[in-house]
Symmetry: C2
Subunit: 310 residues, 2 copies
């Protein structure tokens, strides 16, 4: 077993898209899921020096959707609120990632999965206009009977809709920093973190937080050298999907912000990734990268992906 | 906010019964669950000095059962194996405990919930004779079609049956010790830990580990001063449920072992608790306690519960 330990350098924060972990094509077997997770762990291992400290975050859209479908299918069991279900997905995905990473990287210190809470502002305007569809699809009649807000998402289909407030603070950031400093790889902030508001104490809220924004907040708090957002396209593109689409490669933050302000990125997918990268570099981070797991090694070498610098 | 930090003394390990967290009487609302968790957090806060370091473990029987019921009710979603579901319950229960404890105890350092793996021996004889019923109840016909072993549990009813191997090592014990040393309260080893076997790396197995045994293993590894097993009866009893039932109060390990060897404790409930307490004291622990959450404070003062000493 390789005995690599932390070299004390700043860690790298890698954010994995939820869809890169489950696929969007219906019921996967657990073997298929393990294959995907192990493949991701191998890509990370191939791309990172053994001594590089890694903090891994991940999405949870398909997974939290499945938990909602499952508990609605069994109304005789306790129906848990969204904050508890987000916590469950942190362990579900984290456990599989942790085991695969531990087996691939073979560092002396363990890979740890932490339940991670993220503080949001109770006055965040997002609470007045929910935007994120989650969970099962309903008919109009079913939707009208639900005890929560629903919205038509396509012809005749409805889904629950929840707020997506901005993350303000990762509650466990200090502990993550300490674990990293002692050589542990940390899987955390899954699904963007469990959203909580700070009152007299912490209280969970039914919302979802964008995982790329939380990953940036955490990366900045940790003084990470690099933030990497892994997704299913190799670059952020200008005019994506059109004839003249153009991949962005190495780009200065100011130039990227011009593209962002011009509305050139898809609101539901690339825009939050670009915003997270910009916030990271603007807050002093050295480099933020958007790419695929397969191109991670090349991207870290400056030869692939979109690489945002100051 | 109270600024109590670790006093550097040995921590106390408290194991909560899964039923003390959910109740056995059908579908609880999340408000009822939060009430139970908050009540437990208050009992712990009332009983422990602010500077006492706490490691909290917990059962998960009803909760992992509900996850199995839920995923079987939605066969169109991925059906996850038991090790992944145990990990999910660690976060589900841990998150609720963590928030309630953080709000009640108000220590400076966070309460952390860790996904915790426990190594079992691949050659443990338990794998040849599964004993633990889990998940939904089936008819004989349904049971015959399941891809896993089932067993009749009462007239005409069948359940899945899984092995319950002995825990050998808590994988994350060093990290738990470090977090405790820096003042964090740690919620871990939920459901007895996620059972894994050590091959070239770690691999999850479909089994359940007794949470009291894992709690003892962890308490001994941490050099804990006391192990407390909280359940729904105030004492271990000799001749429990009979006319001449007698509560055990302060008792020497050797005397308790005589009672155990005489088969005086119920195999499914009190016996593993008594065994865990004995192993803890025999391995050098100062005192192991069996009692209820309500009697915890008195038990720590030596005035309630069964208190096992050397």
């Amino acid at each position: 077993m390789d005995d690599a330990r932390s070299d004390g350098a700043d860690p790298i924060v890698v954010a994995l898209g939820g869809n890169t972990l489950l696929g969007q094509h219906g019921p996967w077997t657990v073997e298929e899921q393990r294959d995907v997770v192990e493949r991701t762990a191998r890509r990370l291992t191939d791309a990172l020096d053994a001594e590089t400290d890694l903090v891994l975050t991940h999405g949870n859209g398909p997974q939290v959707g499945n938990l909602l479908v499952q508990q609605e299918a069994a109304p005789e069991t306790p129906q848990l609120p969204l904050d508890v279900l987000v916590a469950e997905t942190q362990a579900q995905i984290g456990y599989m990632l942790q085991q695969a990473l531990d087996n691939e990287r073979s560092r002396a210190a363990e890979v740890m999965t932490l339940v991670t809470q993220v503080v949001v502002d109770a006055d965040d305007p997002a609470f007045d206009r929910p935007t994120k569809p989650v969970g099962p699809f309903y008919t109009e009649t079913e939707a009208a009977e639900k005890p929560f807000e629903t919205r038509a998402v396509s012809d005749g289909t409805y889904r629950r809709i929840v707020p997506s407030p901005d993350p303000v603070e990762v509650v466990e950031a200090d502990e993550i920093a300490d674990l990293v400093a002692r050589g542990n790889t940390v899987v955390c902030a899954g699904g963007g973190g469990v959203p909580v508001v700070r009152e007299e104490g912490l209280r969970g809220v039914e919302a979802v937080v964008d995982k790329d924004r939380t990953s940036q907040l955490l990366a900045t708090a940790l003084g990470a050298e690099r933030l990497v957002v892994l997704t299913d396209v190799e670059h952020a593109y200008v005019n994506f999907g059109e004839a003249e689409q153009r991949p962005l490669e190495r780009i200065a933050a100011a130039d990227l912000r011009d593209h962002l302000d011009a509305g050139e990125f898809d609101e539901g997918s690339m825009q939050p990734k670009v915003e997270a990268c910009l916030r990271f570099v603007e807050a002093g981070g050295e480099c933020a990268i958007i790419t695929t797991p397969d191109r991670l090694a090349a991207a870290l070498d400056g030869e692939a992906g979109t690489r945002v610098v100051a």
